[in-house]
Amino acid sequence: MDARTSAVVEARGLGKSFGRTVVLRDLDLCVVAGESLVIFGPNGAGKSTLLRLCSTLQRPDRGSLSLFGTTEGGAGVRRRIGLLGHQSFLYPDLSARENLEFFARMYRLGDPERCASAWLARVALESAGTRPVRVFSRGMEQRLGLARALLHDPELILLDEPWSGLDAEAADLLSALLQGLRRERRTLIVATHDFERGATVADRALILHGGRIAWATSAGEAPRALDAIYRRITGAVAA
């Protein structure tokens, strides 16, 4: 099958509940290789849950989810996925460099030290490399978390509110990084509240509301005027 049209993420009837709260219901989604999907939605709509399901951190209660063509999880699948969640998943008492070297080793990357240095430079954190993550600002931690998520050159990149906590400079850095990843034909799924920046990296967009897809861009259509559509659908004042 042509790599460019093979589905990286394929969800059918996806459902997830926590106790009695249903967070995702009957979700169908297909993301093909090289595509960049941006998901908008109010808090509690299920964006984070959807991303976590796609990262293998959680399993669906209902329906099926296949990643890279297989419903079995496993180390092989995890290697090809990078996730940046609300938390950075970093060790607060290790330094930035130590964190990246640790994860580089866990992903069996050759020359973990050089890899860590390179990524510290790419997210503009070289000067803070030896400081423990505990003392980082939210923006710094977010940037380091991004480095951690991208360290192993994953094919599928999942980002949950990546621009939150970043100042304008860092946000531009992130956008540039993401554009670079798009050029490399990686698959991106980004959940965000930021309509402007989200639209700049999106091939496709959808709005999640009450655990369902409330709206999606038509095929081939560039996402536009998203915040107006969003307000109409959710009946809320956009953030």
Binding site: Q58, L90, Y91, M106
Partner: protein
């Protein structure tokens, strides 16, 4: 089953973190001393010497349960646990690394405990120190295997402080019986041979529970 290099990487990371923060060890050692003191006041001084092996193991078990749970919880709370789960590493390797880390920490605590016990009760050094150390190591490995495995469950439940002892203690019976008995024999001056049968049962227990834990840990990290 080849032991992947990630086991060592994770263990190294955990030990480095512990050396840096001393979070687990400090609380554990203080707790161990306090439980020992409680026993000292509770026990009739004449019976205390005979009870020494029992005190040794009961103390380390109860203190250890809290320590193992605490370590798991703190890693979950700061999110780094999930970073670890995202890595393409065999879950059994994570279990092995956590197990090894817990054994090391508990060994340190138990050494302190043993030294204090001997001091307070005026015990003599065991005849065969090597065998004594071995007996303690085997007991701690078995205990840590159960505790590490079930802490992955209890950490997700409400009433987790109560659930871990509930889950571990019934299955821990062989360790309690054999480790205490082996310690008793060795502290009384016996040789490794005389404690042989207890050590063999302990070793068998360790192998079975460690292998089971390695294979089952995967099941406990799904959400």
């Amino acid at each position: 089953m080849r032991s992947p290099p990630e086991v060592w990487t994770i263990l190294q990371k955990d030990l480095r973190l512990e050396l840096r923060t001393k979070e687990a060890l400090s609380g554990l050692v203080v707790l161990v001393v306090l439980i020992l003191l409680t026993f000292t006041f509770a026990l009739d001084p004449e019976g205390a010497v005979a009870a020494a092996p029992a005190v040794l193991w009961v103390t380390i078990v109860f203190a250890g349960l809290l320590a193992v749970q605490r370590a798991f919880l703190s890693e979950r709370e700061n999110g780094s646990w999930y970073g670890l789960l995202l890595c393409p590493v065999d879950r059994g390797a994570i279990f092995a690394a956590k197990l090894a880390g817990n054994v090391i920490i508990l060994t340190v605590a138990q050494s302190v405990l043993t030294a204090l016990l001997m001091l307070f009760l005026g015990l003599r050094l065991p005849g065969s120190v090597v065998a004594f150390v071995l007996a303690n190591a085997l007991g701690l490995i078995g205990f840590s295997a159960l505790a590490t495995l079930f802490a992955a469950i209890s950490v997700r439940l409400r009433a987790r402080e109560m659930m871990l002892p509930l889950l571990v203690l019934p299955l821990l019976v062989p360790v309690v019986i054999c480790a205490v008995e082996a310690s008793r024999i060795l502290l009384a001056g016996g040789t490794a041979a005389s404690a042989g049968v207890w050590l063999r049962v302990l070793a068998t227990f360790d192998v079975i529970v460690t292998v089971a834990g390695w294979m089952l840990f995967e099941q406990l990290v799904l959400e």
